[in-house]
Symmetry: D2
Subunit: 258 residues, 4 copies
């Protein structure tokens, strides 16, 4: 458990992080920021640098995205989480965000882990889709060993033979990680399932299993998203999600709970 500003991560009340997969434009990013803030979200996601399987796919807005992050952060007061892809851009990315995200593909990029561990800002480390829980725990050790204890672990699905979902969300990782480490544990129901229609039930499952929060993708028009549109929530569905989370909170925060 630790605090970022006045937000407690890993406390009694679960935290929802929301925002677009990639920052695509000023309008898109501000529209999402305002919508999620309206529903009480305090931490905004959104990527300026996107790791993509193909070198020919949209790679994010880069520095222009970082400028938009600064604008939104000032204008709204939202805390920002965004991904760092390499050590070269760490200074620039770290300067504009409140939580540095290390993506699944970089979970075993040990050189990056060491640098981010020294950087001094809270980190969300996503589980590699090919990583065992033990490997995930040891990757977090790379951060802690450099003196950074503000580490959030994020389960985001593992690769299996199943094809109806992009990856298989391993919800049992949530209680296991809480047994094995002192770190808060989040779940990403968007990237793991790759399907917007599974985000609400998987959010409920994650929180009921004891997750400290979820991180979800929201887009004003998922069909036109430049990246990961299929899994993003439009605004009405995002509002249903928030209703569900609010309904679940009394159960999650009751006295005498397990």
């Amino acid at each position: 458990m630790f605090s970022i500003g006045d937000i407690v991560i890993g406390g009694a009340k679960p935290v929802v992080i929301a925002g677009p997969c990639a920052i695509e434009s000023r309008e898109q990013y501000f529209a999402v920021a305002q919508e999620v803030q309206r529903r009480g979200i305090r931490i905004l996601r959104g990527g300026a640098y996107k790791p993509r399987t193909s070198p020919h796919a949209f790679q994010g807005l880069g520095e222009e995205g970082l400028t938009l992050i600064q604008e939104v952060r000032l204008a709204t007061g939202l805390l920002i989480i965004t991904e760092v892809m390499d050590t070269e851009t760490l200074e620039k990315v770290g300067a504009v965000c409140d939580i540095i995200q290390i993506g699944a593909r970089n979970m075993s990029n040990f050189s990056l882990l060491k640098k981010v561990g020294k950087f001094g800002k809270p980190v969300m480390l996503k589980r590699g889709y090919m990583a065992t829980i033990d490997e995930f725990v040891l990757a977090a050790e790379y951060l802690v060993k450099e003196g950074n204890h503000q580490v959030i672990l994020c389960e985001r699905g593992i690769r299996t033979f199943e094809t109806r979902t992009r990856n298989t969300l391993d919800i049992s990782a949530v209680p296991l990680l809480k047994m094995l480490t002192p770190h808060p544990v989040f779940v990403d129901p968007s990237h793991s399932t790759g399907r917007g229609d599974l985000v609400i039930p998987m959010t409920r499952a994650a929180l009921a299993a004891g997750a400290d929060g979820v991180m979800v993708e929201v887009h004003p028009n998922p069909r036109k998203a430049l990246c990961d549109g299929l899994q993003s929530l439009d605004f009405p569905t995002f509002n249903l999600l928030m209703n569900e989370v609010e309904s679940l909170i009394p159960y999650l925060t009751r006295e005498g709970k397990l």
Copy 2:
């Protein structure tokens, strides 16, 4: 949704099925039956025939187990679910139980599926641990094609590279199966995780994701179980599980839920 006696399967309220993995003795089976009945359980599990990886391992009590099932059923009024392993024993097994279970290893035993489909009793079909959701749905079709519509689907974990759990419980299968089929969907948090300490959080997750029920293993003395002891709940932990399920019910059955 359908009823077995006065129990609604697939209705608003989730159903917990509990009992030992294998029936080991008269004392053991009665002890579990009485304990679970005391907490409101209406359907008792317990295997007389056990499919085991090694021919040298305990294979279940066989016919002696079927006799014990009859005794417990008469003495307690509990409904019984038990596994059938082959067509030869179908008549005998089917005569003493209320729900016929087809285990994960037999999900693609199409000759067995056809015979059980014709038998006329409700069936719980467990997902093969290497079966895609589409293959699972088509396996259920083998039952339905023979005229049996009282089919319960049970997610029980799939095989992945992760070794901290016996299998990886694929909770996203719950909402997917409910989109793709009309059948009630259960989850087995005991076999999937292979760990008693994960049964409670995974039960919560399964129900929150929309499962119609769970099936859990309970044993008076898990350390001495002849089969699957590591994943069985002792009586105190089973009682904690039931407390959790009862706390969650108001959330699950509220008006206006998704």
Copy 3:
């Protein structure tokens, strides 16, 4: 090592088994039988009963297929391998063939294994696509425990995340199974890859790794096959395969080989 008629299984020289996936008609089966016999094949494959994922797909010719097997066997003198799917048809299937095949989906059908173990004919046991090597070895134990020592193990691919091939052919299983058991080890490059264009290189790899033989699918017109056409070889490609096997034999059977 053992002999079936005058054919040594598990000896110095590798054995190629070939034939159609399913027997589709008198013409098709005879055409393949004659073509493969022309190239020196002594054991013909071909299924009368086909386990299919969907109950709505072609399930094989059944008894009509068994009759065709008898005809071809008499007319050509070829030895026959064909799959048995259940204990009910074991007598009938066993009566017309020389080697009983147990398919991947039935590797853990322990009731079937026990009956086939008692039946007294040579058996080819295919590895379940979800089975570890240890589980495969223990499944063979079910046959041996009933007194049957004429067991051929067949690696036919395991299920992984890769989608370019139907399954991932685990060639390392070949030397491992030879270390762990006394049984001859075959490889099925057709079902494992699901692609005709990989059958020749995977046959070479299997034999070079020490396999005692391969079993391949051949069809007069793969595009019109009722089952698994994509992976079947047409006659010209089958002839190229046989050329390759013949070229490799001097290397495989040389003095002082490992």
Copy 4:
């Protein structure tokens, strides 16, 4: 196909790369270099920087390892392949080697791929153990897009449920990669299997399937290796491996081969 000095990569004759997993000391590295050179090896492997799951494990000799590489290279004339782990050390690592290796964990480290693509030296890109063939092909595109066409692809096993081997060597990747790309394809039978006793049969299988070469680990005393000792070959076994490769060459390079 391309040449490094007078060595043709991707030509008719397969190439064996050998050497220790990690460079541990001057004695160890020189001993291996001399032994492999004695058997005709022209390219020596050996890591100065080792990516390790745990931050507490041996991480390689670092710069001291680079100095030893320079010494061995000068003293023996062997060409050197060694792994680069990050963009910061690229200049230093690239200065002392002839082929830059990108390890499995870094296959999707796109920032590193771009920099190495621009560096101008031949690259061996290892397949991520959880990467599909299509992802592997696209990762190589990151190198080619920057102007580097001297790319060797190396299959080194994928992660599956099997536990008898460290990973499952996907030999079918060899012909598939040769259909899909113009790059030479190598196989690493040491890391994939994690077992010295499988290196010889898997080398034979890889070459028979059409691989342009293999890369194997050799250590003077595998039991005392600081890293991956179980999979390293001692000198006598390495010599048996070379005998096998030499026996296979006439088959692989014959006229009219497929």
